[in-house]
Symmetry: C2
Subunit: 335 residues, 2 copies
DNA sequence: ACATATCATGCACACGTTAACAATCCAAAA
DNA sequence: TTTTGGATTGTTAACGTGTGCATGATATGT
């Protein structure tokens, strides 16, 4: 049997009310008795019953971390860094509950009583109904990784468009003109952003966009592999390929090798994310660093703050992406 | 304001007790009224208040997933697959709460009221005090990934020793005699297991163990890189190197390349885990498949069962590992 | 010495749910 | 008719905690 404040009250010869106040540092209580009670609680190994607390305080002490999906399209490194970033902030003040949005058929079971706040790692516009639900239910929430258009929200995301601009621009500076792109899932918002940077960089350099140099994939290794195969089969194959994430870049590099060609000798390849392994590939991957852990940490901080203060001003915070130059992009071979 | 069973009771002209019974499918209630109430609840958008439920039922509806650490040593793929496996079983019957054991200074706040059950993804013997705490606190729990010695527990793990035996044996069959090993953190139990298989394979083949062919690392990419550098600097360098996980193998391969050598031409390399990316490296990594997602799924199933039935018989379930032959191990060059 | 302000504590209820026990109704048995 | 008993429903308390209000004690000011 667990000790309750009533047990403490009995031993301390006071009412359970006094104990409750003492443990919550109420200014109403004499500091001596307060100390006495606190020490007693400590000795008896008291821990509050959060169910009871929740019931009366109308709080759940749960923070929800929702991904668009936990199945396909979410890369392991991305997932890991997100959880780590948030966990480092949340500690044990709250329970961090991890979920996939697509696990739900309806959102009825998600309400203010079950989550004090929600962090949405939003990858796709498909999440919109879920975000609407959070708004209607009055659950404090923040959206990471994606700018949501319809409704006001707190957004924290990286400047993906600018990031991909930088890496493509870098390719151009190296002398590439035949530059292709391997895209991720069309439904993901970051896909649009990254393509936008690609297109802008090409336009600014006066390079024409070729339809055949844009091939779709789905952010996983295999899709990057097959996409690159398509590009290599082209009559005039590109000299540089920008992949929308590192996973696909790994697949793409593999495809180049399997075709008996070299990276970057025959084809330059760049990725996006700066996954942990990208520095250790051969050749080391030139990519764009995206501060996922930092985004997550900041997001958690903002959310906790807004939970305490009950005041959440819609805002959008952009965190900088950073070009990471390694070995996989070089000057094109003289044609 | 949320609707409660009392609100439903008022509209249905019954007592709140009847509503509670109806919604819980009690056989005491007339099936007509039961239907009527259920429908009404549906229309009113009723969702139970879990705090109240928890308080009276003495359950938290929380399942804890504890990793030894969320910081260093836990690889992203491992983490991701674990969460996925468990999540696929737990669904929304429980909240899945993710934590790192090393986040805690004391375990006082972890008790039967805060977790209905706990899944420990245990990587190190350092977890022992935590496991003891769970036992003492009477919290149903299972231990994944590691055989715990001291106290009775439900264990689900892969047969790592046998797995590494298989891959090292494969190297020997290919003709290697100078075989080295790159170890992970000594504190991790799997490190001992995998070394055991390595040693046995060598002994069975009558190959002498060389001290200089055993170098320590810490399961991350970088440590694999530097460990391989040491091996390459040896006067008589090994022809094959077994890395205790795929991450280190990636680092090791990189080191070989940076030294101007080839895999598997000059040095064969094998890993462990069969991470998602290992098939897409160049050369594709020969490794041992470890069914992490399956272990997690099974573990979750067993835990849920034992929570319902209140009966948990200590047992140890081993899941098979599997040699995955790819390109990174070949016959040694004629010396 | 008395009124008043300040401080410290206790009483009683509330939160939403379940469950032991009591109560009612109606049909069947005596 | 009276009794028994099953089927339904209601009454009440309980879970552990926080809080508005009342109460008592002590110090302050006149």
């Amino acid at each position: 049997m667990n000790v309750t404040i009533k047990d403490i009250a009995r031993l301390a010869q006071v009412s359970h009310t006094t104990v409750s106040r003492a443990l919550n540092d109420s200014p109403l209580i004499n500091s001596e008795t307060k100390e006495k009670i606190k020490q007693l609680a400590q000795e008896m190994g008291y821990t509050p019953n959060f169910s009871a607390k929740s019931l009366v305080m109308d709080r759940s002490y749960n923070i929800g971390l929702f991904f668009s999906t936990l199945n396909t399209g979410t890369s392991a490194g991305f997932f890991y860094e997100t959880v780590r970033g948030i966990n480092s902030v949340v500690k044990d003040a709250y329970n961090l509950v991890v979920r996939g949005i697509d696990d739900y058929e309806h959102y009825r079971s998600i309400h203010r009583k079950s989550f004090d706040g929600v962090i949405v790692m939003s990858q796709s516009a498909k999440d919109e109904p879920f975000l609407h639900h959070l708004s209607e239910a009055g659950i404090p929430h923040i959206v990471l990784n994606r700018k949501v258009e319809g409704l006001p929200a707190i957004n924290i995301l990286s400047d993906d468009s600018h990031g991909s601009y930088k890496v493509v621009n870098y390719m151009i500076k190296k002398g590439h003109r035949r530059i292709a792109i391997i895209s991720g899932k069309e439904i993901f918002h970051s896909t649009l952003e990254r393509r936008d940077g690609f297109v802008r960089a090409l336009q600014d350099a006066g390079i024409e966009l070729k339809e055949s140099y844009q091939v779709g994939a789905s952010y996983d290794l295999k899709s990057g592999y097959t996409a690159m195969l398509k590009l290599l089969a082209l009559p005039e194959r590109p000299t540089a390929v920008f992949c929308m994430n590192d996973d696909m870049a790994v697949g793409a590099v593999k495809a180049v090798h399997d075709a008996g060609l070299q990276v970057p000798g025959d084809v330059s390849v760049a990725g996006f994310d700066d996954s942990m392994f990208s520095a250790y590939l051969s050749p080391a991957l030139t990519t764009v660093k995206r501060p996922i852990e930092e985004i997550s940490r900041q997001g958690a901080l903002v959310l906790l703050e807004s939970i305490e203060q009950k005041t959440l001003a819609p805002e959008t915070i952009y965190l900088r992406t950073e070009l990471v130059v390694r070995e996989s992009v070089a000057e094109p071979a003289k044609a």
